[in-house]
Structures are given as structure tokens and as C-alpha cells.
């Protein structure tokens, strides 16, 4: 049968983005090791609710590691102590009886706390809106097999496209830099033939927006790559740098950034 454990949680509680937050200690008792981390929090919240106390707000949705909504820093690590998974995929068997678990929200100026452990990640949406697309309207496109794309390129583009936009890269980076996220999108389109026409505008527009959102600057520590639940590679950042610098130094006259 499942092993059970008692845990001490130190949870960041904050009413909204205008108030100051603080850590609150909550006991989580009789937690089964085959529960997911979020199910453990569900139980904590059910207990709080029964006691008439406000449950801990945290973002989550699909609970299968793909929507990118869940976002907890657990004992100093985005998405918890294991590599390559999201918080919702973390199970309690990664913890032991009597352990103290510190749970914090993503911390970045560009990700203000909305309540408790939930942060506002709309900065990511705005970066995508700045250029993370191919300018095609519905209809009037060529047959899907018109352009052959070498499997190697298609696979590499896919690897970049697997980013779920959770923001763990920002949370992990000591500088709260969003470069892994931004570079993944820029890379996907830079690799594919469909992305070529706007390749250099895109790199500039997205980098500009990223800077405007107040993310920090990459210092190549590699923390983002290590913590990324989808294994997005640092080479994406190198590619983004190359795209951006090429745009700035060699393609300036070709570039007409849309406003």
C-alpha cells in the first residue's frame, strides 16, 4: 500500500498584487506517496475550507504537464526537485516524512503576484503578439506537401515548439530572463521555411517586447535549460542572438517592423 507522510509547508500567501506577502506555515498530514503534489495541495485546501480559512490559490489546469499553467517554486526549484516535469507531474514519493517544503510563486518583476502562488504571465502573451506568428490568413494557402522540409529541420523546429510557456525558465534564471522562452518561438519559425519571410522582423520585434516587459538579461548560466520541463535547449538562445544580431547589423534595411 501507499506510504503516508506528514509534512510542514511554508507557503507564500499574498492577498493581491497591491499587498505585501509573507510565508505561512501549514501542516499537511497523512499524505500518500502516490498523490501528485497538486493533489496534496488540494487536500490542504479542503482542510482549510472546512476550517473556514481561505484556501491557497495556485494556478493549475490540465494536470498532465502540457498546459503550462502550474507554476510553483518548491524548495527553491521551479516545478520541484525533479528534472523535466511540471509541478502537476511531481508526485509525493519525491518527498519524505517530516520534510519541510517551501512553496513560492514564480518571482519576477514581469510576473506580478495575483494571489498567493498565482502570478500574471500575460507578458509572455504580449511577446508572442509582437511577432510570434506567420502572417497568413485563413484560406488561400498552398497544399501542405508543396514544400518538403527535411526531417532533421522539422524535428528541430518541433523541439523548439514544445515550449509550454510555463515560465519556469524565468523563475529558474537568477536574472529572471525570458530568453529561453522567446528564443524557442523565434527558433521554431527561423528553422521552418514558412517562417523565413518575416524571420528578421520577428526576432527584433519579439526581443524588443521582451526587453520592454522588464525581464532580466541572460548570463548563460544554463539554469533555464536545466529546469525546463520540456527540455528546450540553450542553443535556441544562441540562435535568437544570431537572428537578432544578423537583423540588426546586416538586414536593417530589409526590416520593417509592424507597429
Amino acid at each position: 500500500m501507499a506510504q503516508h507522510m506528514n509534512l510542514t509547508l511554508k507557503v507564500w500567501r499574498q492577498k493581491n498584487d497591491k499587498t505585501k506577502g509573507q510565508f505561512v506555515t501549514i501542516q499537511a498530514n497523512n499524505i500518500a506517496d502516490d498523490m501528485s503534489f497538486l493533489e496534496m495541495l488540494d487536500i490542504v485546501n479542503e482542510d482549510l475550507t472546512r476550517k473556514g480559512e481561505d484556501p491557497v490559490y495556485f494556478d493549475h489546469d490540465c494536470r498532465e504537464g502540457i498546459c503550462g499553467m502550474c507554476s510553483l517554486v518548491i524548495n527553491g526549484r521551479p516545478h520541484g526537485p525533479k528534472y523535466g516535469i511540471t509541478t502537476c507531474q511531481l508526485h509525493m514519493r519525491s518527498f519524505h516524512d517530516g520534510q519541510t517544503i517551501v512553496i513560492e510563486p514564480w518571482r519576477a518583476a514581469a510576473f506580478p503576484v495575483l494571489k498567493d502562488l498565482a502570478v500574471d504571465r500575460t507578458a509572455f502573451d504580449r511577446i508572442q503578439q509582437a511577432g510570434g506568428y506567420v502572417n497568413v490568413n485563413t484560406g488561400g494557402v498552398p497544399d501542405a506537401n508543396t514544400i518538403a522540409i527535411p526531417k532533421r529541420i522539422a524535428d528541430e523546429a518541433f523541439e523548439s515548439a514544445t515550449c509550454i510557456g510555463c515560465g519556469a525558465c524565468v523563475a529558474a534564471c537568477k536574472n529572471a530572463s525570458a530568453m529561453l522562452f522567446v528564443s524557442a518561438k523565434i527558433s521554431q519559425f527561423a528553422l521552418l521555411p514558412q517562417g523565413q519571410t518575416e524571420r528578421y522582423e520577428r526576432a527584433q520585434a519579439m526581443v524588443d517586447q521582451m526587453d520592454a516587459e522588464g525581464f532580466g538579461n541572460c548570463t548563460n548560466t544554463g539554469a533555464c535549460e536545466a529546469e525546463c520541463p520540456k527540455g528546450i535547449k540553450l542553443t535556441n538562445i544562441a540562435r535568437m542572438n544570431r537572428e537578432y544580431l544578423t537583423a540588426k547589423f546586416f538586414r536593417e534595411e530589409d526590416v520593417h517592423v509592424q507597429s
Binding site: 507564500w12 510565508f23 513560492e104 530572463s177
Partner: protein, 257 residues
């Protein structure tokens, strides 16, 4: 035309500056180490002092040296600006930080390592560059028998001579020069300074192990074959050979000479 932000005020532009100045400083280190290997020659500093004169008086090298000073200053200032901006990007720090699980210590502490190196540079420049340029070094006269190649030397005083002079009399080449070698020897008799130099070289090693390859990443260099080469250079050349080479100099003068 583009209405995008100017490159140097962008995050990637700042990275570009850091990487270009960094790589330039790295290449200087190679030259500096090779030149300074002459300190290990047992010739009373004949080769080294000649080399020192060349480095300070040959016009193209002077130009490069000014670029070098500029690089150091720009590298440091941008580092400071970036650090401040990065701090602002995370106004509330984590109560618990698991950085060691996802990144190397030196990559997260380039600022501290860089500061150690900057303090070292100030000390180093004061000890040698400043003294050399401000006439605070002793002088030496070498007599080289052009037939046999044997060099003898004697100390001379400043009043007998000014700056640098080479004359050939009776097939003997007489060189009068500032004795920076002596100054090095003198400085490295101070055990405190020797320890500081060794510590600074350790800091340099860790700074460059991350810094050199990081600079190429910033420049957008990503190649299956060459990136491992650059990473290898980062560790073995800039992390081991160069810092050890430099660290051996104070140790040599303290323990051997």
C-alpha cells in the same frame, strides 16, 4: 526603416558588448602570458626588459593597449549595469534557492569573480604599469658580447641614463633599460601579494571557464562540432593553462629566485 530599438540598448546588444570585450581580453591574456614567460629565463631580465620596452613603445601595440584599457572599463561598466537591471527584474528574492541544482556556481557569480579580478588589476597595474611609466623602477645595463652571445649586467642609477638606449662598441652591445624584472622580483618577495595573486588567478580561472564559452553563446555561435572545442578551450586553456601559468610567476619569484 526599422523602428526597432537601437541594438546597444537591447538585452542582446549588451550581451554582445560583454562578449566582444571579453573575448578581446581573453586574447590579450594569451599574448600577455607568452610574453611574460620570459620572466622564467635566467638572464637577469635581459629578454624581459627588452620585451617590456617594446610593449610600451611600439605604436601599434600602444593602440592595442588603449583598446585593452577601454575593454576592461566597458566590460566592467556593462557588467554593473546588467547586474543592476537583473536585480530589478527580480525585486523579491526567493526564500530558498536551489541554484546549485541547475547551474554552476561560477556561472551565477561572475560578478563576484569579476570584482576580484578588477581589484587584482588595480593592484597589478599599480605595482608594475604605474611604476614603469612613472620612473619608479630601478635601471640596469646589459653588455652582450656579440661574438659569444654572453650577457652580463650591472645596476645603474637613473642619472647615468634616461629611458632606453642601445649602443654597440667593440662588438659589444650595451643596453641600458628600466629594470622591470627587478621590480617583479622585489614585489613578489611579499608573501601577502603572492597569495593575493594566486587567489586572483583562481578567480580568473573560474571567471573564464564560464566566460569564454559564454561569450560565444552570446554571439550566437552554436555548432555541433565547434562548440565542444570552445568549451574545451574554456576549461583547459583559460581555466587551467593560463591561470596556472600566471600564478607560477609570483610563486617562482618567491620560492625559487
Amino acid at each position: 526603416m526599422s523602428n526597432s530599438k537601437p541594438v546597444l540598448s537591447s538585452s542582446i546588444g549588451r550581451k554582445l558588448i560583454m562578449s566582444l570585450t571579453g573575448i578581446f581580453l581573453c586574447t590579450f591574456l594569451i599574448v600577455h602570458l607568452i610574453g611574460n614567460l620570459q620572466l622564467f629565463k635566467d638572464d637577469a631580465g635581459y629578454a624581459f626588459n627588452n620585451y617590456a620596452y617594446l610593449m610600451t613603445h611600439f605604436a601599434p601595440i600602444k593602440v592595442v593597449s588603449y583598446l585593452l584599457y577601454a575593454s576592461i572599463i566597458i566590460h566592467a561598466i556593462y557588467a554593473l549595469v546588467l547586474t543592476l537591471k537583473n536585480r530589478a527584474a527580480r525585486p523579491i528574492a526567493y526564500a530558498q534557492n536551489g541554484g546549485k541544482a541547475n547551474s554552476k556556481w561560477n556561472s551565477r557569480n561572475m560578478g563576484i569573480l569579476g570584482t576580484v579580478i578588477l581589484v587584482f588589476l588595480a593592484t597589478h597595474m599599480n605595482n608594475f604599469w604605474w611604476k614603469y611609466h612613472n620612473d619608479q623602477t630601478p635601471y640596469i645595463e646589459y653588455s652582450k658580447d656579440l661574438a659569444t652571445g654572453v650577457v652580463t649586467s650591472k645596476e645603474i642609477s637613473a642619472s647615468e641614463f634616461h629611458d632606453y638606449q642601445v649602443t654597440v662598441v667593440n662588438n659589444v652591445e650595451v643596453t641600458k633599460a628600466r629594470d622591470l624584472y627587478k621590480q617583479v622580483d622585489f614585489a613578489f618577495q611579499n608573501i601577502g601579494l603572492v597569495i593575493f595573486y594566486v587567489i586572483a588567478m583562481i578567480a580568473l580561472a573560474f571567471h573564464l571557464i564560464h566566460g569564454f564559452q559564454s561569450a560565444f553563446q552570446s554571439l550566437g555561435f552554436a555548432h555541433k562540432k565547434y562548440v565542444p572545442l570552445i568549451k574545451g578551450l574554456s576549461v583547459w586553456l583559460f581555466g587551467v593553462i593560463i591561470p596556472i601559468g600566471f600564478a607560477l610567476m609570483p610563486l617562482y619569484f618567491y620560492f625559487v629566485k
